[in-house]
Symmetry: C2
Subunit: 274 residues, 2 copies
Amino acid sequence: GTHHALDALSQEGLSDEPVHHLDQTDAAGNNVVGRYWEAGGQAKMKKPQQRRRKKQTVTSAETDDDMNEGEDDDDVNGGGGGGGVVLGIERQREHPFIVTEPGEVARGKKNGLDYLFHLYEQCREFLVQVQTIAKDRGEKCPTKVTNQVFRYAKKSGASYINKPKMRHYVHCYALHCLDEEASNALRRAFKERGENVGSWRQACYKPLVNIACHHGWDIDAVFNAHPRLSIWYVPTKLRQLCHLERNNAVAAASALVGNGISCTGSSASGHFGV
Amino acid sequence: GTHHALDALSQEGLSDEPVHHLDQTDAAGNNVVGRYWEAGGQAKMKKPQQRRRKKQTVTSAETDDDMNEGEDDDDVNGGGGGGGVVLGIERQREHPFIVTEPGEVARGKKNGLDYLFHLYEQCREFLVQVQTIAKDRGEKCPTKVTNQVFRYAKKSGASYINKPKMRHYVHCYALHCLDEEASNALRRAFKERGENVGSWRQACYKPLVNIACHHGWDIDAVFNAHPRLSIWYVPTKLRQLCHLERNNAVAAASALVGNGISCTGSSASGHFGV
DNA sequence: AGAAGGACCAGTGGTCCGTA
DNA sequence: AGAAGGACCAGTGGTCCGTA
Protein backbone atom coordinates (compact mmCIF):
# COMPACT_ATOMS: atom_id res chain seq x y z
CA GLY A 1 0.00 0.00 0.00
CA THR A 2 1.03 3.54 -0.55
CA HIS A 3 2.11 5.58 2.41
CA HIS A 4 -0.49 7.96 3.64
CA ALA A 5 0.31 11.59 4.27
CA LEU A 6 0.55 11.98 7.98
CA ASP A 7 0.27 15.68 8.18
CA ALA A 8 1.71 18.79 6.75
CA LEU A 9 3.91 21.40 8.30
CA SER A 10 2.11 24.35 9.67
CA GLN A 11 4.42 26.54 7.64
CA GLU A 12 3.21 25.00 4.42
CA GLY A 13 1.23 27.38 2.44
CA LEU A 14 0.66 29.73 -0.38
CA SER A 15 2.50 27.78 -3.05
CA ASP A 16 0.79 25.79 -5.77
CA GLU A 17 -1.38 22.88 -4.68
CA PRO A 18 -1.63 24.18 -1.17
CA VAL A 19 -3.68 21.33 0.25
CA HIS A 20 -4.24 17.65 -0.10
CA HIS A 21 -0.88 16.82 -1.58
CA LEU A 22 0.99 14.07 0.14
CA ASP A 23 4.18 15.00 1.85
CA GLN A 24 7.03 12.59 1.69
CA THR A 25 7.87 10.90 4.93
CA ASP A 26 10.94 9.01 6.07
CA ALA A 27 10.92 5.57 7.65
CA ALA A 28 9.99 6.95 11.04
CA GLY A 29 7.12 8.90 9.59
CA ASN A 30 8.81 12.24 10.02
CA ASN A 31 7.95 14.88 7.56
CA VAL A 32 11.17 15.42 5.65
CA VAL A 33 9.86 17.37 2.72
CA GLY A 34 7.72 20.34 3.37
CA ARG A 35 6.59 23.52 1.75
CA TYR A 36 7.31 26.42 3.95
CA TRP A 37 5.12 29.33 4.65
CA GLU A 38 6.47 32.18 2.60
CA ALA A 39 5.25 35.71 2.55
CA GLY A 40 7.07 37.18 -0.40
CA GLY A 41 7.40 34.15 -2.61
CA GLN A 42 10.90 33.12 -1.56
CA ALA A 43 11.13 29.84 0.26
CA LYS A 44 12.99 29.97 3.53
CA MET A 45 13.80 26.90 5.54
CA LYS A 46 11.97 27.67 8.73
CA LYS A 47 11.14 25.49 11.72
CA PRO A 48 10.83 22.01 10.22
CA GLN A 49 9.53 21.12 13.64
CA GLN A 50 10.43 17.71 15.01
CA ARG A 51 7.08 16.12 15.26
CA ARG A 52 6.40 13.45 17.80
CA ARG A 53 3.51 11.10 17.45
CA LYS A 54 1.49 8.91 19.73
CA LYS A 55 0.36 6.70 16.90
CA GLN A 56 1.47 5.91 13.45
CA THR A 57 -1.16 6.48 10.82
CA VAL A 58 0.74 4.71 8.06
CA THR A 59 -1.48 1.83 7.09
CA SER A 60 -1.55 -0.84 4.50
CA ALA A 61 -4.59 -1.39 2.36
CA GLU A 62 -5.22 2.30 2.22
CA THR A 63 -7.94 3.13 -0.24
CA ASP A 64 -8.09 6.29 -2.30
CA ASP A 65 -11.43 7.00 -0.76
CA ASP A 66 -11.23 7.90 2.85
CA MET A 67 -14.73 9.13 3.55
CA ASN A 68 -16.50 6.11 4.92
CA GLU A 69 -14.11 3.45 5.99
CA GLY A 70 -13.46 2.63 9.61
CA GLU A 71 -10.79 4.09 11.75
CA ASP A 72 -7.32 2.99 10.77
CA ASP A 73 -5.74 5.46 13.10
CA ASP A 74 -5.20 2.99 15.89
CA ASP A 75 -2.99 0.82 13.76
CA VAL A 76 0.62 0.71 14.79
CA ASN A 77 3.30 0.84 12.15
CA GLY A 78 3.41 -2.65 10.70
CA GLY A 79 7.18 -2.71 10.58
CA GLY A 80 8.28 -2.42 14.17
CA GLY A 81 6.12 -3.56 17.00
CA GLY A 82 7.36 -1.18 19.63
CA GLY A 83 10.10 1.09 18.42
CA GLY A 84 10.81 3.78 20.96
CA VAL A 85 11.21 6.30 18.20
CA VAL A 86 7.66 5.75 17.08
CA LEU A 87 5.68 4.80 20.13
CA GLY A 88 4.98 7.02 23.08
CA ILE A 89 5.76 10.24 21.28
CA GLU A 90 3.10 12.86 20.96
CA ARG A 91 2.43 15.02 17.99
CA GLN A 92 3.77 18.47 18.67
CA ARG A 93 1.27 21.27 18.91
CA GLU A 94 1.17 23.96 16.31
CA HIS A 95 3.16 27.05 17.09
CA PRO A 96 0.99 29.75 18.64
CA PHE A 97 -0.21 32.64 16.56
CA ILE A 98 1.16 36.13 16.91
CA VAL A 99 -0.24 39.36 15.55
CA THR A 100 1.46 40.05 12.25
CA GLU A 101 0.93 42.71 9.62
CA PRO A 102 -0.40 41.63 6.24
CA GLY A 103 2.43 39.93 4.36
CA GLU A 104 4.63 39.63 7.41
CA VAL A 105 6.28 36.31 8.18
CA ALA A 106 6.21 35.25 11.81
CA ARG A 107 9.67 34.85 13.33
CA GLY A 108 10.71 32.16 15.77
CA LYS A 109 8.35 29.40 16.81
CA LYS A 110 5.25 31.38 15.88
CA ASN A 111 2.67 31.48 13.14
CA GLY A 112 1.33 34.67 11.58
CA LEU A 113 -2.19 35.78 10.76
CA ASP A 114 -1.84 35.33 7.00
CA TYR A 115 -1.23 31.68 7.80
CA LEU A 116 -4.28 31.62 10.08
CA PHE A 117 -6.49 32.95 7.33
CA HIS A 118 -4.94 30.54 4.88
CA LEU A 119 -6.19 27.67 7.07
CA TYR A 120 -9.73 28.88 6.44
CA GLU A 121 -9.11 28.76 2.71
CA GLN A 122 -7.79 25.24 3.07
CA CYS A 123 -10.92 24.19 4.94
CA ARG A 124 -12.97 25.62 2.13
CA GLU A 125 -11.06 23.47 -0.35
CA PHE A 126 -11.61 20.39 1.81
CA LEU A 127 -15.31 21.22 1.94
CA VAL A 128 -15.42 21.49 -1.85
CA GLN A 129 -13.84 18.06 -2.11
CA VAL A 130 -16.30 16.57 0.37
CA GLN A 131 -19.14 18.15 -1.57
CA THR A 132 -17.88 16.75 -4.84
CA ILE A 133 -17.68 13.26 -3.40
CA ALA A 134 -21.12 13.55 -1.78
CA LYS A 135 -22.77 14.74 -4.99
CA ASP A 136 -21.12 11.99 -6.96
CA ARG A 137 -22.50 9.42 -4.53
CA GLY A 138 -25.91 10.99 -4.27
CA GLU A 139 -25.49 11.61 -0.56
CA LYS A 140 -26.36 14.61 1.57
CA CYS A 141 -24.11 17.47 0.60
CA PRO A 142 -22.82 19.71 3.40
CA THR A 143 -23.01 23.46 2.86
CA LYS A 144 -20.90 24.29 5.89
CA VAL A 145 -17.57 23.20 7.34
CA THR A 146 -18.86 20.33 9.46
CA ASN A 147 -17.25 17.64 11.58
CA GLN A 148 -17.16 15.54 8.43
CA VAL A 149 -14.98 18.14 6.73
CA PHE A 150 -12.59 18.33 9.68
CA ARG A 151 -12.35 14.56 9.66
CA TYR A 152 -11.65 14.59 5.93
CA ALA A 153 -8.97 17.26 6.36
CA LYS A 154 -7.26 15.18 9.02
CA LYS A 155 -7.40 12.05 6.87
CA SER A 156 -5.98 14.04 3.98
CA GLY A 157 -2.94 14.81 6.08
CA ALA A 158 -3.88 18.28 7.31
CA SER A 159 -3.54 17.30 10.95
CA TYR A 160 -2.83 20.91 11.85
CA ILE A 161 -6.48 21.75 11.12
CA ASN A 162 -8.86 21.15 14.00
CA LYS A 163 -12.32 22.29 14.93
CA PRO A 164 -11.66 24.20 18.18
CA LYS A 165 -8.97 26.31 16.54
CA MET A 166 -11.01 27.12 13.45
CA ARG A 167 -14.13 27.96 15.44
CA HIS A 168 -12.08 30.10 17.81
CA TYR A 169 -10.94 32.51 15.10
CA VAL A 170 -13.91 32.44 12.70
CA HIS A 171 -14.93 35.99 13.43
CA CYS A 172 -11.37 37.21 12.78
CA TYR A 173 -11.53 35.56 9.38
CA ALA A 174 -14.97 37.10 8.88
CA LEU A 175 -13.57 40.59 9.34
CA HIS A 176 -10.75 39.74 6.94
CA CYS A 177 -13.36 38.70 4.34
CA LEU A 178 -15.84 41.49 4.87
CA ASP A 179 -13.53 44.47 5.32
CA GLU A 180 -9.94 43.60 4.53
CA GLU A 181 -8.83 47.21 4.92
CA ALA A 182 -10.25 47.43 8.42
CA SER A 183 -8.82 44.02 9.25
CA ASN A 184 -5.37 45.06 8.05
CA ALA A 185 -5.51 48.31 9.97
CA LEU A 186 -6.46 46.45 13.13
CA ARG A 187 -3.58 44.02 12.71
CA ARG A 188 -1.08 46.86 12.24
CA ALA A 189 -2.43 48.75 15.24
CA PHE A 190 -2.34 45.73 17.54
CA LYS A 191 1.09 44.68 16.37
CA GLU A 192 2.39 48.20 16.97
CA ARG A 193 0.94 48.21 20.46
CA GLY A 194 2.53 44.83 21.15
CA GLU A 195 -0.83 43.23 21.92
CA ASN A 196 -1.12 39.47 22.07
CA VAL A 197 -3.30 37.35 19.81
CA GLY A 198 -6.07 37.11 22.38
CA SER A 199 -6.65 40.84 22.58
CA TRP A 200 -6.47 41.22 18.80
CA ARG A 201 -9.04 38.47 18.54
CA GLN A 202 -11.32 40.27 21.00
CA ALA A 203 -10.96 43.50 19.07
CA CYS A 204 -12.25 41.85 15.89
CA TYR A 205 -15.78 41.68 17.28
CA LYS A 206 -16.60 45.36 17.32
CA PRO A 207 -16.13 46.19 13.63
CA LEU A 208 -18.22 43.11 12.79
CA VAL A 209 -21.04 44.27 15.02
CA ASN A 210 -20.94 47.56 13.14
CA ILE A 211 -21.18 45.78 9.82
CA ALA A 212 -24.15 43.81 11.13
CA CYS A 213 -25.78 47.09 12.20
CA HIS A 214 -25.55 48.33 8.63
CA HIS A 215 -27.37 45.18 7.53
CA GLY A 216 -30.28 45.34 9.93
CA TRP A 217 -28.42 43.37 12.62
CA ASP A 218 -28.76 40.21 10.58
CA ILE A 219 -25.32 38.67 11.07
CA ASP A 220 -26.43 35.44 9.42
CA ALA A 221 -27.33 37.37 6.28
CA VAL A 222 -23.95 39.10 6.40
CA PHE A 223 -22.15 35.75 6.55
CA ASN A 224 -24.34 34.13 3.91
CA ALA A 225 -23.89 36.98 1.45
CA HIS A 226 -20.14 36.38 1.28
CA PRO A 227 -19.09 33.33 -0.77
CA ARG A 228 -16.04 32.38 1.30
CA LEU A 229 -17.65 33.22 4.64
CA SER A 230 -21.01 31.56 4.07
CA ILE A 231 -19.56 28.11 4.71
CA TRP A 232 -18.79 28.99 8.35
CA TYR A 233 -21.21 28.90 11.25
CA VAL A 234 -21.77 32.26 12.87
CA PRO A 235 -19.96 32.13 16.23
CA THR A 236 -22.25 32.20 19.23
CA LYS A 237 -20.55 35.14 20.88
CA LEU A 238 -20.70 37.28 17.75
CA ARG A 239 -24.38 36.49 17.41
CA GLN A 240 -24.98 37.46 21.03
CA LEU A 241 -23.05 40.71 20.68
CA CYS A 242 -25.09 41.70 17.64
CA HIS A 243 -28.28 40.93 19.54
CA LEU A 244 -27.17 43.03 22.53
CA GLU A 245 -26.21 45.95 20.35
CA ARG A 246 -29.49 45.76 18.46
CA ASN A 247 -31.37 45.93 21.73
CA ASN A 248 -29.29 48.91 22.80
CA ALA A 249 -29.98 50.64 19.50
CA VAL A 250 -33.71 49.99 19.82
CA ALA A 251 -33.70 51.29 23.39
CA ALA A 252 -31.77 54.38 22.37
CA ALA A 253 -34.09 55.00 19.44
CA SER A 254 -37.20 54.77 21.58
CA ALA A 255 -35.68 57.04 24.23
CA LEU A 256 -34.77 59.60 21.61
CA VAL A 257 -37.80 59.59 19.37
CA GLY A 258 -37.18 60.64 15.81
CA ASN A 259 -33.44 60.18 16.04
CA GLY A 260 -31.73 58.17 13.32
CA ILE A 261 -29.92 55.03 14.43
CA SER A 262 -26.25 55.52 13.87
CA CYS A 263 -24.40 52.18 13.78
CA THR A 264 -21.47 53.80 15.57
CA GLY A 265 -21.39 50.90 17.95
CA SER A 266 -19.99 52.72 20.94
CA SER A 267 -22.43 51.71 23.63
CA ALA A 268 -22.25 48.22 25.09
CA SER A 269 -19.26 46.61 23.46
CA GLY A 270 -17.67 45.84 26.75
CA HIS A 271 -20.68 44.53 28.60
CA PHE A 272 -20.48 41.00 27.41
CA GLY A 273 -17.03 40.08 28.43
CA VAL A 274 -15.75 39.81 24.88
CA GLY B 1 -51.91 28.78 36.67
CA THR B 2 -53.75 28.42 33.42
CA HIS B 3 -54.31 24.96 32.10
CA HIS B 4 -52.05 23.98 29.30
CA ALA B 5 -53.38 22.53 26.09
CA LEU B 6 -52.69 18.84 26.24
CA ASP B 7 -53.20 18.03 22.65
CA ALA B 8 -55.64 18.54 19.88
CA LEU B 9 -57.91 16.11 18.18
CA SER B 10 -56.52 14.62 15.06
CA GLN B 11 -59.67 15.65 13.31
CA GLU B 12 -59.08 19.27 14.06
CA GLY B 13 -58.23 21.20 11.01
CA LEU B 14 -58.97 23.62 8.27
CA SER B 15 -60.90 26.13 10.31
CA ASP B 16 -59.53 29.47 11.40
CA GLU B 17 -56.60 29.46 13.79
CA PRO B 18 -55.73 25.87 12.95
CA VAL B 19 -52.79 25.48 15.32
CA HIS B 20 -51.49 26.67 18.64
CA HIS B 21 -54.83 27.53 20.11
CA LEU B 22 -55.51 26.00 23.47
CA ASP B 23 -58.27 23.45 23.62
CA GLN B 24 -60.49 23.49 26.64
CA THR B 25 -60.06 20.54 28.93
CA ASP B 26 -62.23 19.18 31.68
CA ALA B 27 -61.09 18.34 35.18
CA ALA B 28 -59.67 15.01 34.07
CA GLY B 29 -57.70 16.62 31.27
CA ASN B 30 -59.88 15.21 28.55
CA ASN B 31 -60.32 17.25 25.46
CA VAL B 32 -63.96 18.28 25.54
CA VAL B 33 -63.94 20.96 22.91
CA GLY B 34 -62.41 20.27 19.57
CA ARG B 35 -62.55 21.40 16.00
CA TYR B 36 -63.28 18.56 13.70
CA TRP B 37 -61.75 17.78 10.42
CA GLU B 38 -64.14 18.93 7.79
CA ALA B 39 -63.78 18.56 4.07
CA GLY B 40 -66.51 20.74 2.65
CA GLY B 41 -66.73 23.43 5.27
CA GLN B 42 -69.56 21.87 7.27
CA ALA B 43 -68.59 20.69 10.71
CA LYS B 44 -69.60 17.16 11.53
CA MET B 45 -69.13 15.66 14.95
CA LYS B 46 -66.85 12.80 14.17
CA LYS B 47 -64.83 10.51 16.43
CA PRO B 48 -64.13 12.68 19.47
CA GLN B 49 -61.88 9.81 20.42
CA GLN B 50 -61.59 8.98 24.12
CA ARG B 51 -58.01 9.68 24.80
CA ARG B 52 -56.13 7.89 27.50
CA ARG B 53 -52.96 9.27 28.94
CA LYS B 54 -49.98 7.91 30.77
CA LYS B 55 -49.12 11.25 32.28
CA GLN B 56 -50.85 14.51 32.87
CA THR B 57 -49.15 17.49 31.32
CA VAL B 58 -51.26 20.04 33.15
CA THR B 59 -48.82 22.01 35.22
CA SER B 60 -48.88 25.03 37.41
CA ALA B 61 -46.45 27.88 36.88
CA GLU B 62 -46.71 27.48 33.15
CA THR B 63 -44.93 30.27 31.32
CA ASP B 64 -46.02 31.75 28.04
CA ASP B 65 -42.67 30.88 26.63
CA ASP B 66 -42.13 27.20 26.31
CA MET B 67 -38.95 26.98 24.31
CA ASN B 68 -36.27 26.59 26.91
CA GLU B 69 -37.69 25.53 30.20
CA GLY B 70 -37.15 22.09 31.64
CA GLU B 71 -39.40 19.13 31.17
CA ASP B 72 -42.66 19.44 33.01
CA ASP B 73 -44.11 16.38 31.35
CA ASP B 74 -43.40 14.07 34.23
CA ASP B 75 -45.62 16.03 36.56
CA VAL B 76 -48.72 14.29 37.76
CA ASN B 77 -52.01 16.17 37.95
CA GLY B 78 -51.82 18.20 41.13
CA GLY B 79 -55.45 17.61 42.02
CA GLY B 80 -55.77 13.90 42.58
CA GLY B 81 -52.83 11.82 43.64
CA GLY B 82 -53.82 8.55 42.06
CA GLY B 83 -57.14 8.73 40.32
CA GLY B 84 -57.63 5.64 38.21
CA VAL B 85 -59.20 7.72 35.50
CA VAL B 86 -56.03 9.73 35.09
CA LEU B 87 -53.14 7.48 36.00
CA GLY B 88 -52.10 4.41 34.11
CA ILE B 89 -53.94 5.29 30.94
CA GLU B 90 -52.01 5.67 27.73
CA ARG B 91 -52.61 8.27 25.13
CA GLN B 92 -54.45 6.65 22.27
CA ARG B 93 -52.64 6.44 18.98
CA GLU B 94 -53.84 8.42 16.05
CA HIS B 95 -56.18 6.62 13.73
CA PRO B 96 -54.32 5.10 10.78
CA PHE B 97 -54.40 6.80 7.43
CA ILE B 98 -56.37 5.48 4.51
CA VAL B 99 -56.13 6.47 0.88
CA THR B 100 -58.74 9.12 0.24
CA GLU B 101 -59.53 11.22 -2.79
CA PRO B 102 -58.96 14.96 -2.56
CA GLY B 103 -61.73 16.44 -0.46
CA GLU B 104 -62.91 13.11 0.83
CA VAL B 105 -63.53 12.66 4.54
CA ALA B 106 -62.25 9.41 6.03
CA ARG B 107 -65.00 7.26 7.52
CA GLY B 108 -64.75 5.22 10.69
CA LYS B 109 -61.63 5.27 12.85
CA LYS B 110 -59.43 6.47 10.01
CA ASN B 111 -57.74 9.63 8.87
CA GLY B 112 -57.60 10.83 5.26
CA LEU B 113 -54.76 12.17 3.17
CA ASP B 114 -55.99 15.76 3.20
CA TYR B 115 -55.54 15.57 6.93
CA LEU B 116 -52.06 14.09 6.49
CA PHE B 117 -51.00 16.98 4.28
CA HIS B 118 -52.57 19.41 6.68
CA LEU B 119 -50.18 18.17 9.36
CA TYR B 120 -47.28 19.32 7.18
CA GLU B 121 -48.83 22.77 6.97
CA GLN B 122 -49.20 22.81 10.73
CA CYS B 123 -45.54 21.92 11.15
CA ARG B 124 -44.66 24.80 8.86
CA GLU B 125 -46.63 27.14 11.11
CA PHE B 126 -44.85 25.81 14.18
CA LEU B 127 -41.52 26.34 12.43
CA VAL B 128 -42.48 29.93 11.63
CA GLN B 129 -43.26 30.49 15.30
CA VAL B 130 -39.97 28.96 16.40
CA GLN B 131 -38.17 31.15 13.87
CA THR B 132 -39.91 34.27 15.12
CA ILE B 133 -38.93 33.51 18.69
CA ALA B 134 -35.35 32.69 17.71
CA LYS B 135 -34.92 35.89 15.72
CA ASP B 136 -36.37 37.93 18.51
CA ARG B 137 -33.87 36.42 20.92
CA GLY B 138 -30.94 36.65 18.55
CA GLU B 139 -30.49 32.88 18.55
CA LYS B 140 -29.77 30.47 15.75
CA CYS B 141 -32.77 30.32 13.48
CA PRO B 142 -33.75 26.92 12.06
CA THR B 143 -34.56 26.77 8.36
CA LYS B 144 -35.93 23.23 8.52
CA VAL B 145 -38.42 21.32 10.64
CA THR B 146 -36.01 20.14 13.33
CA ASN B 147 -36.34 18.27 16.59
CA GLN B 148 -36.80 21.66 18.22
CA VAL B 149 -39.88 22.30 16.08
CA PHE B 150 -41.38 18.90 16.92
CA ARG B 151 -40.76 19.60 20.59
CA TYR B 152 -42.41 23.00 20.25
CA ALA B 153 -45.41 21.48 18.48
CA LYS B 154 -45.84 18.96 21.26
CA LYS B 155 -45.61 21.63 23.94
CA SER B 156 -48.13 23.71 22.04
CA GLY B 157 -50.60 20.86 22.36
CA ALA B 158 -50.17 19.21 18.97
CA SER B 159 -49.32 15.84 20.47
CA TYR B 160 -50.54 14.13 17.32
CA ILE B 161 -47.49 15.49 15.46
CA ASN B 162 -44.37 13.40 15.79
CA LYS B 163 -41.13 13.05 13.91
CA PRO B 164 -41.32 9.44 12.68
CA LYS B 165 -44.74 10.01 11.16
CA MET B 166 -43.83 13.25 9.44
CA ARG B 167 -40.59 11.88 8.07
CA HIS B 168 -42.37 8.76 6.87
CA TYR B 169 -44.68 10.62 4.52
CA VAL B 170 -42.51 13.57 3.49
CA HIS B 171 -42.16 12.43 -0.09
CA CYS B 172 -45.93 12.02 -0.38
CA TYR B 173 -46.32 15.62 0.71
CA ALA B 174 -43.57 16.56 -1.74
CA LEU B 175 -45.55 15.14 -4.66
CA HIS B 176 -48.63 16.95 -3.40
CA CYS B 177 -46.63 20.22 -3.43
CA LEU B 178 -44.80 19.72 -6.70
CA ASP B 179 -47.51 18.20 -8.87
CA GLU B 180 -50.89 18.33 -7.19
CA GLU B 181 -52.62 17.01 -10.30
CA ALA B 182 -50.43 13.92 -10.43
CA SER B 183 -50.78 13.49 -6.66
CA ASN B 184 -54.57 13.67 -6.91
CA ALA B 185 -54.66 11.23 -9.81
CA LEU B 186 -52.52 8.78 -7.86
CA ARG B 187 -54.79 9.02 -4.84
CA ARG B 188 -57.89 8.36 -6.95
CA ALA B 189 -56.27 5.43 -8.71
CA PHE B 190 -55.06 3.79 -5.50
CA LYS B 191 -58.35 4.35 -3.75
CA GLU B 192 -60.20 2.80 -6.69
CA ARG B 193 -57.91 -0.21 -6.62
CA GLY B 194 -58.45 -0.57 -2.88
CA GLU B 195 -54.74 -0.26 -2.14
CA ASN B 196 -53.59 0.43 1.40
CA VAL B 197 -51.69 3.47 2.54
CA GLY B 198 -48.35 1.67 2.37
CA SER B 199 -48.57 0.89 -1.31
CA TRP B 200 -49.83 4.38 -2.13
CA ARG B 201 -46.88 5.74 -0.21
CA GLN B 202 -44.49 3.56 -2.20
CA ALA B 203 -46.05 4.69 -5.45
CA CYS B 204 -45.34 8.32 -4.64
CA TYR B 205 -41.60 7.83 -5.22
CA LYS B 206 -41.65 7.26 -8.95
CA PRO B 207 -43.26 10.52 -10.11
CA LEU B 208 -40.85 12.38 -7.83
CA VAL B 209 -37.85 10.66 -9.39
CA ASN B 210 -39.18 11.79 -12.75
CA ILE B 211 -39.44 15.37 -11.55
CA ALA B 212 -35.86 15.15 -10.29
CA CYS B 213 -34.79 13.85 -13.71
CA HIS B 214 -36.22 16.98 -15.31
CA HIS B 215 -34.11 19.04 -12.93
CA GLY B 216 -30.77 17.40 -13.53
CA TRP B 217 -31.37 14.78 -10.81
CA ASP B 218 -30.89 17.42 -8.14
CA ILE B 219 -33.64 16.48 -5.71
CA ASP B 220 -32.30 18.93 -3.13
CA ALA B 221 -32.72 21.76 -5.63
CA VAL B 222 -36.26 20.55 -6.37
CA PHE B 223 -37.15 20.65 -2.67
CA ASN B 224 -35.44 23.98 -2.06
CA ALA B 225 -37.13 25.67 -4.98
CA HIS B 226 -40.57 25.11 -3.43
CA PRO B 227 -41.41 27.42 -0.52
CA ARG B 228 -43.50 24.96 1.48
CA LEU B 229 -41.31 21.98 0.69
CA SER B 230 -37.93 23.59 1.31
CA ILE B 231 -38.35 23.33 5.08
CA TRP B 232 -38.30 19.50 4.91
CA TYR B 233 -35.25 17.29 4.75
CA VAL B 234 -35.04 15.21 1.60
CA PRO B 235 -35.82 11.63 2.65
CA THR B 236 -32.88 9.25 2.37
CA LYS B 237 -34.71 6.74 0.23
CA LEU B 238 -35.88 9.34 -2.27
CA ARG B 239 -32.34 10.64 -2.54
CA GLN B 240 -31.03 7.13 -3.13
CA LEU B 241 -33.66 6.41 -5.77
CA CYS B 242 -32.79 9.56 -7.67
CA HIS B 243 -29.13 8.61 -7.54
CA LEU B 244 -29.83 5.11 -8.85
CA GLU B 245 -31.96 6.40 -11.69
CA ARG B 246 -29.37 8.96 -12.61
CA ASN B 247 -26.75 6.23 -12.82
CA ASN B 248 -29.09 4.18 -14.98
CA ALA B 249 -29.69 7.15 -17.24
CA VAL B 250 -25.98 7.79 -17.55
CA ALA B 251 -25.32 4.13 -18.35
CA ALA B 252 -28.11 4.09 -20.92
CA ALA B 253 -26.83 7.29 -22.49
CA SER B 254 -23.30 5.98 -22.84
CA ALA B 255 -24.52 2.68 -24.26
CA LEU B 256 -26.65 4.48 -26.78
CA VAL B 257 -24.39 7.33 -27.84
CA GLY B 258 -26.14 10.38 -29.15
CA ASN B 259 -29.48 9.40 -27.71
CA GLY B 260 -31.36 11.99 -25.71
CA ILE B 261 -32.08 11.11 -22.10
CA SER B 262 -35.79 10.78 -21.68
CA CYS B 263 -36.80 11.05 -18.02
CA THR B 264 -39.45 8.38 -18.56
CA GLY B 265 -38.22 6.62 -15.46
CA SER B 266 -39.11 3.08 -16.45
CA SER B 267 -35.90 1.26 -15.75
CA ALA B 268 -34.88 0.54 -12.18
CA SER B 269 -37.75 1.70 -10.04
CA GLY B 270 -38.18 -1.67 -8.45
CA HIS B 271 -34.54 -2.46 -7.74
CA PHE B 272 -34.26 -0.67 -4.49
CA GLY B 273 -37.05 -2.19 -2.51
CA VAL B 274 -39.05 1.01 -2.41
C1' DA C 1 -51.59 -8.25 8.11
C1' DG C 2 -50.71 -2.95 8.18
C1' DA C 3 -49.55 1.07 10.63
C1' DA C 4 -48.33 4.67 14.48
C1' DG C 5 -44.67 6.46 17.32
C1' DG C 6 -41.54 5.79 21.68
C1' DA C 7 -37.16 5.42 22.08
C1' DC C 8 -32.72 4.42 20.71
C1' DC C 9 -28.15 5.39 18.40
C1' DA C 10 -24.30 7.12 15.72
C1' DG C 11 -22.45 11.00 14.65
C1' DT C 12 -23.07 16.83 15.33
C1' DG C 13 -22.18 21.44 16.95
C1' DG C 14 -20.14 23.54 20.46
C1' DT C 15 -16.48 24.53 23.63
C1' DC C 16 -14.30 23.40 28.18
C1' DC C 17 -10.41 22.48 30.51
C1' DG C 18 -6.40 19.47 31.25
C1' DT C 19 -2.05 20.26 28.78
C1' DA C 20 2.31 22.30 27.24
C1' DA D 1 0.67 34.26 31.80
C1' DG D 2 -1.31 32.96 26.97
C1' DA D 3 -2.62 29.59 23.75
C1' DA D 4 -3.54 24.95 21.12
C1' DG D 5 -6.64 21.05 20.76
C1' DG D 6 -8.25 16.31 22.79
C1' DA D 7 -12.17 15.03 24.36
C1' DC D 8 -16.48 15.55 26.30
C1' DC D 9 -21.60 16.57 26.27
C1' DA D 10 -26.30 17.91 25.29
C1' DG D 11 -29.18 17.76 21.92
C1' DT D 12 -29.72 16.12 16.31
C1' DG D 13 -31.16 13.49 12.36
C1' DG D 14 -32.63 9.27 11.34
C1' DT D 15 -35.42 5.23 11.78
C1' DC D 16 -36.02 0.63 14.03
C1' DC D 17 -38.86 -2.30 16.24
C1' DG D 18 -41.74 -3.32 20.26
C1' DT D 19 -46.67 -2.07 20.35
C1' DA D 20 -51.61 -1.99 19.37
